[in-house]
């Protein structure tokens, strides 16, 4: 039904991102196969950076194509006369994209981890000590930022009735917030927390939860706007 349609609309991008998530680490490791030390020296940093890039790009791309496209495609009259609430359509498309994002992140994480474990162990007997270079906090922050960016872009795309407009607005808004934060810091020494930074003295996990709640509020706002939209 609608889940199937969402999957059908996004599966092309999803498969591409899955490939992008899965391939870089094995390929890099394979290229350095005869330079054993280099794998463990550069590997953890490469793993971290690849993860940040892949999940961020996937978040923006999936949000852009997952958001309710019915207004752009002029098919709102068809979908919104089906016996389901508009909220159902908003949240279902959000969940499908979010699931795909989680899968992309998981694949990247597992493959990267597996490659480091496999080649690292082969290259050095003290391999496990090098894992200290991989910071779990960086991964948590990257994942939290991806979720936040995904929800914000999705919400704006649904509200502005266009995936590309939503993407532009989301990037603009986040850049604007960074600018405002920098200005506040310079002018009045006020520290405005930016996603996915720690909020004040809250523990990291709680801060990330707070960012997630804010992200879900964006989707809720999108639902309210779509429910009230005149077609």
């Amino acid at each position: 039904m609608f889940v199937w349609k969402c999957w059908r609309d996004t599966r092309g991008f999803f498969v591409v991102f899955l490939a992008i998530a899965a391939l870089p680490m094995p390929m890099a490791a394979f290229a350095m196969i005869n330079r054993g030390a280099a794998i463990l020296d550069a590997g953890p940093a490469a793993f971290q950076q690849t993860f940040v890039m892949v999940v961020t790009a996937a978040a923006y791309a999936l949000a852009t194509i997952c958001a309710i496209q019915e207004f752009t495609d002029k098919t709102a009259h068809f979908l919104f006369t089906k016996p389901r609430s508009r909220g159902y359509f908003v949240w279902t498309s959000w969940i499908v994209g979010f699931t795909e994002l989680v899968m992309v992140a998981a694949v990247n994480l597992l493959v990267g981890w597996g490659v480091l474990a496999h080649y690292g162990a082969k290259a050095f007997s003290d391999g496990p000590q090098k894992w200290n270079l991989v910071s779990p906090q960086k991964f948590i922050e990257a994942a939290a930022y991806a979720c936040f960016a995904y929800a914000l872009t999705f919400a704006l795309a649904a509200i502005l009735r266009s995936g590309l407009k939503g993407l532009g607005a989301s990037l603009g808004l986040l850049a604007g917030v960074v600018g405002v934060s920098a200005a506040l810091q310079m002018r009045w020494r006020i520290n405005l927390p930016l996603p996915p930074e720690q909020i004040g003295h809250l523990p990291l996990a709680l801060s990330e939860c707070a960012w997630m709640v804010l992200a879900l509020l964006f989707v809720l706002a999108a639902q309210l706007v779509v429910e009230r939209a005149e077609i």
Binding site: K5, R8, D73, T75, T81, P83, R84
Partner: protein, 311 residues
Amino acid sequence: MMEAVISTDHLTKTYRQVSAVRELNLNVPRGAIYGFLGRNGAGKTTTIKMLLGLTRPTSGSARVLGMDTARDRIAIFQRTAFVSEKKTLYPLLTPNELVRFSRGFYPTWDEKAVEKYSQLLEIPMTQRFEKLSNGNQTKVFLLLALAQGADLLILDEPTTALDPLTADEFLRVLAASAMERGCTVFFSSHQLEEVERIAEYVGVMDRGKLMLESRLDDIKSEFRLVIAVGNSLPRQTSSQVLSVVADGDCCRYFVTQDADGFAAKLTQNGATVTQVVSLGLRDIFLQLVRKELPCSSGNAGATLVGSSSSF
């Protein structure tokens, strides 16, 4: 009138300064094929959107299948099939995939109807929607609507942009299906011939107002053009006389009821009634929306230049 499947109570929609629908009181009887006539911009699509809850009314209310359109939208959609004037669907899906997509929404979905109508309408079920001709795209909409097993079919200008043959086929299938299943069909159009062909009830809308609503046979049997010659003929309109066109000693009266009685009254007053002409839906429609005046011979389509008093 029988039990109403669609009824509106002073339904009004205003866009800023523009009044799209004004104080509309519509009644569509159960089991009827109702032709909703009006020229472009008359307010037909806005009315349909309000009936489906796609647009909120500025004031007034509407009930569909006995349910409030503002409150019971989802329950209404379960029993109502809609074909929009915009014949756009997911371009990359095939009709088979569109069937797969739609069927999960409706417990009353009829798979046999899909088979029957896809064959009857000769729809290429495995071709992408974007690759289908206009006619076939419209047929896909009809197929989805009919397979839904709905009690009410609402179609907004379904045959626009269809060639006469396809339009004919479309209407034939629509009328036969409605008769077979006993569902109510409410369709808007400005194609008078097609309304005349299949509709039992007609509503004529112009500039946001409902000008006329009645059984088509009643309209045809009541509305007459009375042509009279004489001195001092009455030139006023009334509830019985919709318009008067004067040309010297000759007057053409567009009479909405009891034309024979009206002609007799004119004769009593010394006038000579030369013709009492029955009118087709086209003449009636044009009179109501006042874009064309009735011709002296009663031929549809001829335009008479003359003065007309307004009612």
